[in-house]
């Protein structure tokens, strides 16, 4: 049964009327037209759909939209802008990281939350924080360089 669900997305109040069990990913993409969270697997295995839910990196492909009620969603588009880039975004540009770029929501949103809570991480901690995310183009080394760089920018 379609239900009204209200939450904040990138600082803006939004209301959708959807099946409450529908994953948040489809509410963001199809109801709100926010394309940046991406469908990669629908299984919480790859990270392409990652958003922050009240600051916590969350796989929107398996999170029911109802779970977002009254909470704050931040997408990659809300993390920073060309004028005010988030340090991870700036580092991604500086290091020219992505190839196809389809995976970057997972890496950037996860790294942003990790660096917020860990100001001076070791490389091993960075790898552990990012483990499980997928990149099929093989940009692993550039991702690690960028997150290390972002840690120094933050």
């Amino acid at each position: 049964m379609a239900t009204r669900i209200t939450f904040r997305v990138d600082g803006k109040d939004e209301t959708v009327t959807v099946d409450p069990d529908m994953p948040l990913l489809y509410a963001l993409r199809d109801d709100l037209g926010l394309d940046n969270p991406r469908f990669g697997c629908g299984l919480a295995q790859c990270g392409a759909c990652t958003v922050h839910l009240d600051g916590v990196p969350t796989r929107s492909c398996v999170t029911p939209t109802s779970a977002a009620e009254g909470r704050a969603v931040t997408t990659l588009a809300g993390l920073g802008t060309p004028e005010r880039p988030h340090p991870v975004q700036q580092a991604y540009i500086d290091e020219q990281v992505p190839q196809c770029g389809y995976c970057i929501n997972g890496w950037i949103m996860t790294a942003a939350a990790f660096l917020r809570d860990n100001r001076d991480p070791s490389e091993a901690q960075i790898r552990e924080a990012l483990t499980g995310l997928k990149c099929r183009c093989g940009t692993h080394m550039a991702i690690l360089r960028a997150v290390k760089r972002a840690a120094s920018l933050a």
């Binding site: 991406r38 060309p82 995976c103 790898r127 550039a142």
Partner: protein
């Protein structure tokens, strides 16, 4: 300022130049408006304006009939065109992969973007510059030879105050001329005009590091992917696949769909899909539909029997790409014979996102939005599939979720087109993760049998290298023939069988080495299922490279070990070409390689360290790798501590882009060597997601990768984005041998397999 030359004046000024008044020199929208818009005429291959436009604002556009998959190929094209036009690269836009706006240059293929794809654009840009200089000569009243061009301004060399800009020369006109077209489409397409491209010694832009254009867009979530295309009235569709490969629906109960708004099923022969106005409803409908599938005989052998199956299967075709001397006789008469067999599994594209396409099929024309790296082939294939003329089909490439060969992006346009025609609405098809892994094309599983004879002094007297494998192309590597699509195959259409394991290009295993007698041969075996198979093969990044070089360079290492030689010295002793030698020297010097025979040293501990090397060619590129690993004897896990990869791909266009391209290719190859294996049971593929088809995790990535580039300004650029893929397997396996004394002859080198190999040693 508007400048109009009469046709006569134009001809006088520039020979073959035809100046036409352009209605609008600006750009058509990159994504054509949905419905009913007339299809623009196709750009003719023999015209300059089909490749390069110089605009009234002093910018230029290159029309590139390939695409950039995120390697920065568009930047390299902009650099090359800017170089010939004497413009800053920032003033050159690149339009890619739109069949109405670019000539069919074959799409992304065989790492040919620069080596072949840039050539006609370079030639057209050179011609455009010549025409502009001739126009300036007429305007300034001096001979063309007295002029120089810098940043789009033409000035008299001896009197630089006398100048005219490209803007002033162009005005609102459209630069065009006839070019000599070689009559080919695809990778081999070329055009030439009167102008000669710049000598490389004069290059200013080519060879410099220019940043990518798409990265900031992607990082700020402003880059559109094919998955983001939405049209008014568009339906979302999902396909349904059989639980047993080869089964077909025999009964479909649509009753459960009545509870889902607008949901409906489309069933014809083996083609079964659901569609709904809302995406979530299409997903729910796919789950709700009740389907009875036919009883199909299990098509596959047990996975454990895969390599025996390959060995025992009848050969359908044999090729002998290289025969020098009588290698079998030389081996038969040798003092000592070294022989080994190497096995390599099926690999999946498993692209980052599953395939997606949008089709809008209307009586007046067809539009397809595709992430396929060969959009012109999609146009031709969909036209044949629908039975309409190709000029009524407009395919637009939009960045896809990764693509390294003929992946599932090549199947979705046919599904979408079929459904759009059936449903009378635009249709967006997106595959599931299960389809992206389970039903994409696979690279072929194979067995490599290698034998060599050594004389009493340990010199190689002959070598044979024989591959036996599934064909590399159960389906073609482009979408131009609809018989190669899943849609056509489940609809009962005929197949388009191809049967080859042809070693690609000028590459044959052990090619760089001067062995006195050689026999290099391949055999193919029949596919396991003759249609719509989840194990059908086609091209995956560096086709055949990983398996053949794993075998060849492991075997060369085995020869070195058999003769007690250092693996690098052994190779250097047999190499002939200076470029091969230079790459091997460059990587081993950087890695600090100390000569000694490979093999474990000291007391065996829990963790054994070793180093290995591999060297290969690929279509004119030379690539080599030193890998340093640590093997955990307890778990069998291989940790890659350091990789030093070297590449010589001729003239370097953009060193920064190239460095990343090589690094990413190496990581991709490392993933395939350490982790990747398609699994299946007797019914179907069972590696259907990231849990069942693991790839290299960031935690397992090498501790360090160093890229050594060798620039060859005197050698035309050759493929850059694939060669390093093939180096990883052998270098890692050779390093494991060095660490443990155990040879790994089957990929991937999972901890379980390494543990078993150590236990068996």
């Amino acid at each position: 300022m508007t400048l109009r030359l009469s046709r006569r004046a134009a001809l006088r000024a520039t020979g073959a130049l035809v100046v036409t008044v352009a209605a609008a020199p600006g750009e058509a929208p990159a994504q054509p408006a949905g419905a009913g818009a007339p299809l623009s005429p196709l750009p003719p291959p023999g015209r300059l304006a089909s490749y390069v436009a110089v605009h009234a604002d002093g910018t230029a556009t290159a029309f590139f009939g390939k695409i950039d998959g995120g390697q920065g190929l568009d930047v390299a094209i902009a650099q090359i065109v800017a170089e010939e036009l004497d413009l800053p690269p920032a003033r050159v836009r690149v339009v890619m992969g739109d069949t109405a706006r670019t000539v069919n240059q074959g799409g992304a293929s065989n790492a040919s973007g620069v080596s072949q794809g840039a050539v006609p654009l370079r030639n057209a840009a050179a011609e455009a510059r010549l025409m502009l200089v001739e126009m300036a000569a007429a305007r300034l009243g001096v001979p063309p030879g007295a002029l120089r061009v810098e940043d789009g301004t033409v000035s008299v060399a001896a009197d630089p105050a006398r100048r005219v800009t490209y803007e002033e020369l162009i005005g609102d006109r459209r630069l065009d001329a006839e070019l000599r077209w070689n009559g080919r489409y695809g990778n081999d397409l070329n055009v030439e005009g009167r102008a000669r491209p710049k000598p490389i010694a004069d290059y200013k832009v080519v060879g410099t590091a220019v940043p990518r254009r798409d990265i900031a867009e992607k990082v700020f979530a402003r880059h559109a992917y094919v998955t983001d295309i939405r049209l008014p009235g568009m339906l979302h569709a999902r396909m349904l696949r059989p639980p047993v490969a080869g089964a077909r629906p025999v009964a479909v109960d649509e009753a459960p769909l009545r509870a889902i708004p607008g949901a409906r099923a489309v069933w014809k022969e083996g083609f079964l899909a659901v569609a709904a106005p809302r995406e979530w409803d299409a997903i729910r409908a796919a789950a709700a539909l009740k389907v009875t599938w036919s009883e199909a005989a299990p098509p596959f052998p047990e996975q454990a029997a895969l390599y025996d199956h390959i060995r025992n299967a009848p050969a359908t075709k044999r090729g002998v790409p290289l025969q020098e001397g009588d290698a079998p006789a030389a081996i038969a008469g040798a003092a000592r014979v070294v022989a080994a067999e190497y096995e390599w599994p099926f690999h999946s594209h498993s692209s980052m996102g599953p395939g997606c396409a949008v089709a809008d099929v209307r009586p007046e024309g067809v539009r397809i939005w595709t992430g396929s790296q060969k959009p012109h082939a999609v146009r031709d294939g969909v036209a044949k599939f629908l039975g309409v003329p190709p000029e009524t089909v407009h395919a637009v490439w939009v960045t896809g979720p990764g693509s390294y060969g003929r992946n599932d992006a090549g199947d979705t346009p046919f599904d979408a087109a079929f459904l759009s025609r059936e449903l009378g609405a635009p249709v967006r098809v997106q595959y599931t993760r299960h389809e992206g892994h389970g039903w994409d094309t696979k690279s072929p599983a194979s067995v490599q049998r290698v034998r060599a004879g050594l004389d009493a002094e340990g010199r190689v007297v002959g070598i044979t290298f024989e591959s036996k494998a599934f064909s590399r192309t159960n389906i073609a590597t482009s979408e131009a023939d609809p018989r190669d699509s899943l849609a056509s195959q489940v609809l009962g259409g005929g197949l388009n069988p191809q049967d080859t394991y042809l070693f690609p290009g000028d590459f044959v295993p052990t090619e760089p080495y001067a062995f006195p007698a050689r026999l290099m041969a391949w055999e193919t075996i029949p596919p396991l299922l003759d249609r719509a198979s989840p194990l059908r093969t086609s091209h995956l990044r560096d086709p055949l490279g990983p398996e053949l070089i794993f075998a060849a360079e492991s075997f060369v290492d085995e020869l070195a070990a058999a003769t007690g030689a250092d693996p690098v010295e052994f190779r250097l002793r047999h190499l002939r070409e200076e470029r091969d030698i230079a790459v091997l020297r460059a990587i081993t010097e950087r890695a600090g390689w100390e000569p000694r025979p490979a093999g474990p040293r000291g007391a065996p501990g829990d963790r054994a360290r070793g180093r290995g090397v591999s060297l290969a060619r690929r279509d004119g590129t030379v690539v080599g790798l030193v890998a340093e690993v640590e093997v955990d004897r307890g778990s069998g896990a291989i940790r890659v501590r350091r990789m030093v990869v070297g590449q010589d791909c001729g003239l370097i266009i953009n060193p920064d882009g190239l460095r990343r391209c090589v690094e990413n290719a190496l990581i991709y190859g490392t993933s395939r060597a350490l982790r990747e294996e398609v699994t299946f049971d007797r019914n179907n593929v069972t590696s259907v997601d990231w849990a069942t088809y693991p790839i290299l995790d960031v935690a397992e990535a090498p501790e360090a990768v160093e890229v050594v580039l060798i620039n060859r300004p005197d050698i035309r650029p050759t493929g850059a984005g694939e060669p390093a893929v093939r180096t990883a397997g052998a270098a890692i396996a050779n390093a494991v041998f060095d660490a443990t004394g155990v040879r790994l002859r089957r990929g991937p080198f999972t901890p379980e397999r390494v543990r078993a190999a150590l236990a068996g040693a």
